[in-house]
Amino acid sequence: MKPFIVLICKIIGFILRKFNKGSAYPGSLALKIDENIFNYFKMPKITIAVTGTTGKTTISNTLTAIYKHAGFKVANNTRGSNLKAGILTCLIENANILGKIKADVLILEIDERYVKKVIEYIKPNYFIINNLSRDQLARNGHFDIVWEDINAHISSDIHLVLNADDPLISKFSLYHKGSVTFYGLSKTIYSKNEPALNTLDLVYCPICNKKLRFTYYHYGNLGNYECSNNDFKRVKPDYEAKLVSDSSFMVDIVEIKMNSTSLYNVYNLLACYTVASLSNIPKEKTVEAINNLSLKIKRLDIMTVDNKDFILLLSKNETPISYNQSLEYVSKQKEPKTVVIGFDRISGRYNLKDLSWLWDINFEMLNDDSINKIICVGTFAHDIAVRLKYANVIPKKIVICLSSDEMLKVIKKHSLKRIYCILYFDVEKKFKKMLKQEA
């Protein structure tokens, strides 16, 4: 029966792809016919799973490039979904009808809430957990729940690859009986004595409940921490990056170039370097692959219309740690500017209207003389405006626009040459369309 299910689902997947429908349908159909179908697949020698609040797709794409460059055949799910049916779809697509994955290396990014549902079937050799922070709380509840779910499903035969700088991640090593390798970033010129977020997730020792002492913060609650009882601290990473410039870092004795200047990108690339090194890929190959990377890692997305530059910063709602980095980026740009913020839906996944996350983001960073106006757009424009008010943004700088026409008028009238647009997917799409029509 199972070979038949795989065959049927492969054919359906093939047809869907022909029509450019990258969906998780083959996987969900297979599960409907046989809920034990996951057991059927035989994984290749190198199987890598990746999870975390941010960086999953970048890591999977980069690892794919590295192993391909080293001459391996690679299968991954970066085109599809990272939930249960999506991962199964990837397996079906890449397996023969006997369930054997026809690749040397399998790289799977897994949504952090779905690790518990798939990890026992995937049995990865390496499991990268890049970071965890408050994210989509109207779905996830909170980060402890996500942590517990993952921890309960890591078997001791899995080699964990953990971010040493994130206490919530290194906490996994306290309970894991198998191998652990740590990666981390040493102190940089950007390290701060105070956190940039005022609501941090884990700042108490998971063993003795004493407050952790941070000697510096990179961002969020990533940094160098230790418990005063010495029960828990940042361990010296096996692979420690040293920031050389805004666009490169050193690890071992090699220099790795980044095509995005954000610190979180160091972790993404370093995680890849670590796993490549553990699986004996020659250093040169790894570095070449990363440095030649032609991946679509987010660069600045700029549209110029009527001699005005619109810098589009796609920002995911409900993930304060990354939203905050968009704001930090804007506040670092010293030139006079206008800011546009907005979203129509809070989540693409559910219809709940939880607005509490707005208060976990430091909109205070936008209380800055170089900003002339902050234009609030989308369904929740008023709620954004209220948040800005309590971030002490001068009231006359706050403008609310509900319709696209109004927004266009306001932008024409008030905006300066540089316009930073912090938008969710839905508004970004409309916004780009509107700008194209204007151009």
Binding site: L137, K211, L352, K353, S356, D360, V386
Partner: protein, 245 residues
């Protein structure tokens, strides 16, 4: 006039943007010309309830809640006395559970709480997450907010703050929620509640100030944005929320 707010367990019970309640109160009290000082306090600090005009505690993870509870229990008698003497408490999210008799956690372990109100808390296997629309006698406007919690209070509430129009309330399908006893205001609602409900904010700020000076001359509140946000939400989503299920 000077006003001191104790923000208890700011680094442990800090989920769901609840720090917004503090930012909002500070700005609104300052708008009335009051000098506001905020004390950020946590388990390494000594508490002295005589020094605070208002005590605020917000939502946290179940784990952090127990850490905070252990510390707070040392002050059980002082807290009881403070509440009986009309000290203001604003307690949101699962922080309300600290003031009951017991919390039974997921592993059925019983945690002694402050025993100020006679209810017990049970942590469920599932999480309850939903929109909320409540009503209270304190103001005319219905109260909007959100709930995201693991636990329920199934005892009859002697001093409920809200009637549930829609939402989880104290437990799924309950009709009453929260506690209003003297100047103690407690609710599972997150939002932040006074950020999303301008009438409630106004009521709360007025009551706070009047407790210190009954003849206080209030400046008019500048809550235009807040009223617009509230009204926009009601216009756009009220019917949907009410009719779901």
């Amino acid at each position: 006039m000077k006003f001191t707010i104790a923000y208890l367990y700011y680094d442990l019970l800090n989920l769901y943007g609840e720090n917004g309640n503090i930012k909002i109160l500070k700005k609104q009290l300052e708008h009335q010309g009051i000098n506001v000082s905020i004390k950020f306090l946590t388990i390494d600090d000594e508490l002295d309830f005589d020094q605070y005009d208002l005590v605020y505690i917000g939502a946290g993870t179940e784990h952090n809640q127990k850490i905070a509870l252990k510390h707070l229990l040392k002050y059980k008698e002082q807290i009881k006395e403070a509440i009986e003497n009309d000290k203001f408490f604003l307690v949101t999210g699962n922080a309300i559970e600290l003031f009951g008799k017991y919390i039974y956690d997921k592993n059925k372990k019983k945690h002694k709480a402050l025993d100020i109100f006679k209810f017990t808390v049970k942590e469920e296997e599932f999480r309850m997450i939903d929109e909320a629309i409540f009503k209270t006698d304190l103001i005319d406007q219905e109260v909007i907010g959100f709930q995201n919690q693991n636990s329920v209070i199934k005892d009859n509430l002697k001093y409920p703050l809200f009637t549930v129009i829609k939402g989880i309330g104290s437990y799924p399908n309950s009709t009453k929620e929260g506690i209003h006893y003297r100047n103690f205001y407690g609710t599972y609602l997150i939002g932040p509640i006074i950020g999303r409900n301008p009438e409630l904010l106004k009521y709360f700020v007025r009551t706070l100030i009047k407790s210190k000076n009954p003849n206080f001359k209030f400046k008019s509140f500048d809550l235009k944005l807040e009223y617009e946000a509230y009204q926009h939400f009601i216009n756009k989503f009220y019917r949907d929320i009410i009719t779901i299920n």
